[in-house]
Amino acid sequence: MKAFAAGLTFFARRLMQAALVMLAILIIAFAVRSALGDPLREIMGEAVSEAERDKLMHELGLDAPWPVQLARYLGGAVQGDLGTSFIYKRPTLAIVLAKFPASFELVLGASLIVLLFSVPAGIYCAVRPRALGARLVLGLSVLGISIPVFLTGIFLITIFSVWLGWLPAFGRGETVRLGLWETGLLTKDGLEHLILPALTLSSIMLPLFIRLVRGAMLDELGHDYVRTARAKGASPPRVWLNHALRNALLPLAAVGGLQIGTLIAYTLLTETVFQWPGMGFLFLEAVTRADIPLITTYLVFVGLLFVITNTLVDIVSLMLDPRISLEGTR
């Protein structure tokens, strides 16, 4: 009962922290908008006389002191209104959200590849550190880390699209609408379009995760309980998978979850190479055309993803790890 109450307190405190970070992000976004943006351009375009501007400024309350405007921005944010895009003349949040499925499916595809390969490869490198295969995997992972993600994409396109003509190089292909979610996972064309971008994105995360799995496994394999399990007669694969891997997953989830920012950056690069119509592609278009409201909304949304992942990682680690004591006072 006491542990439960402590769990609730932790939960509430963690959510509180997350809310505070979001508030900070929104205030920064507001500051960027005020410093760089011109709200009147959102409404009436560029060619307006000085007098008209002043009149409109006053009517819209844009000459109000900044605390009032900040309060208005935050109030809008709570209701999902983060401003209107210069380019599209539509609410920015709706535009960013419409691009979210594309980025999400790309990350999903890449994560599947990473998960499928990094866990076996990492375990193998940890249990057979001197084997030729392990050295080969680690050598290849240096190679993978050394090739920038956009070059991997370009090389893959050169081979599979330009030379062999097997796979498409640009865009998402045919998509299907499921309610609000536009998915490319249900058509053959959509899946074919996903292969190269997902491979590209996974190429940069894979070496990192192989090393993480290997490191975490090596840590666990050195512990006494592994020796005990072996002494009791458990087979080596059983010790690796049921004992060591289970304990290795925790630090792995924690470190892996913290890579979300890096993942977003690499997604942005991948989307640029493949002209993948996701959020990163949208962001760069907004940057080129100086669409400040769209830029800040993207940043707020990315900040939100970041905060959600970090909070989840914390809560999940807490639930999975019996050793983390909630009652700090005990």
Binding site: V32, A35, L36, V142, L143, I145, S146, I147, P148, V149, F150, L151, I154, F155, I157, T158, V162, G215, L258, Q259, I260, G261, T262, I264, A265, Y266, L268, L269, T272, V273, F283, L284, A286, V287, T288, A290, D291, I292, I295, L299, V302, N310
Partner: protein
């Protein structure tokens, strides 16, 4: 004393080359590329930053081993008729310069902070360590993208082009100091407990003198390892930013810019404008990383956690 140290390090280097031939090859590749980049004005057949020295009529000529090439351009030309070899030499120069300068900034911030945190401990240590954690959790590449994107959106592509080199150096330099701080802190904690530091303190040496003259030289090995991996990271970050159009302009291209501008030509058949600078970039990055790994094994037998 210092002569001995140098000789020892020299013989260690030879032993290390014999032990890991891969690292020796990497060192040679890196040395050749660096030398070629440094001597670019002497080797290059034209100045790619000087609009008058090339002609758009020479645009997208292939390298000499392909049909339709021009012997004046060993590796062919890009979309503006620039000699690709010359442009790559100058581009490598920019990439390496930005990478090394950015790492110098990282070290200039991180090493003193790590030294002080490790030496003083207590609250100072907590503050520095927390700041490092927060900074690292924010993904440095994403931070750099955001900073340069806001600069570009706010002040326009023109000003971004003009101040690209200092901006890239500062943005990449400010982002990754925690790696130096962490390493310096951990190593300082080990050194600070040793007798020579206590003896120095007993003899009346100031904390500053102890840190700068006694501890710093003794923690230089792990710092050199970090510096190597960081240079690779910084060069890659610069290339990524330039590829996104947030770094070096087309008129003064780095390797990343060249790859980007060539990418637009790839489907027209002019693959060399992208692929050749790409290979040079990969060669630099692999060499630096292989060298870093070998240095880590050679200088730090216990292995670091990174």
């Amino acid at each position: 004393m210092s002569g001995d140290a140098i000789r020892m390090r020299g013989s260690a280097l030879i032993a290390f080359a014999a032990e890991s031939p891969g690292a020796a090859v990497a060192a040679i590749v890196l040395a050749v590329i660096t030398l070629a980049a440094l001597l670019a004005p002497l080797i290059a057949t034209q100045d790619p930053f000087d609009l008058a020295s090339f002609d758009v009529l020479d645009a997208t000529l292939p390298p000499v081993w392909l049909d339709g090439s021009d012997p004046r351009f060993l590796l062919g030309t890009d979309a503006q008729g620039r000699d690709l070899l010359s442009t790559i030499l100058y581009g490598t120069r920019i990439s390496l310069t930005v990478g090394v300068l950015a790492v110098l900034i990282q070290a200039a911030i991180g090493v003193p902070l790590g030294l002080i945190a490790g030496y003083a401990g207590g609250r100072l240590d907590t503050i520095v360590s927390r700041a490092a954690d927060i900074q690292l959790s924010l993904s440095t590449l994403m931070m750099a993208i955001i900073a340069l994107a806001l600069f570009r959106a706010g002040l326009g592509g023109e000003s971004l082009s003009r101040y690209a080199v200092p901006l890239l150096v500062i943005v990449i330099g400010l982002a990754e100091w925690p790696y130096f701080a962490r390493t310096a802190r951990a190593a300082t904690q080990v050194e600070a407990a040793k007798d020579y530091v206590r003896a120095g303190r007993a003899l009346g040496a100031t904390s500053f003198a102890l840190m700068a003259r006694h501890i710093l030289p003794n923690i230089s090995s792990p710092l050199i390892v970090v510096a190597t991996t960081q240079v690779a990271g910084a060069i890659m970050a610069e290339a990524a930013l330039s590829f996104l159009g947030l770094g070096m302009p087309v008129t003064k291209p780095s390797l990343g810019t060249l790859i980007r501008s060539g990418y637009d030509l790839m489907f027209a058949g002019a693959w060399w404008v992208t692929v050749i600078p790409g290979l040079v970039l990969v060669a630099v990055l692999i060499s630096v990383n292989v060298l870093g790994d070998a240095l880590r094994d050679g200088l730090d037998p216990r292995g670091t956690t990174r």
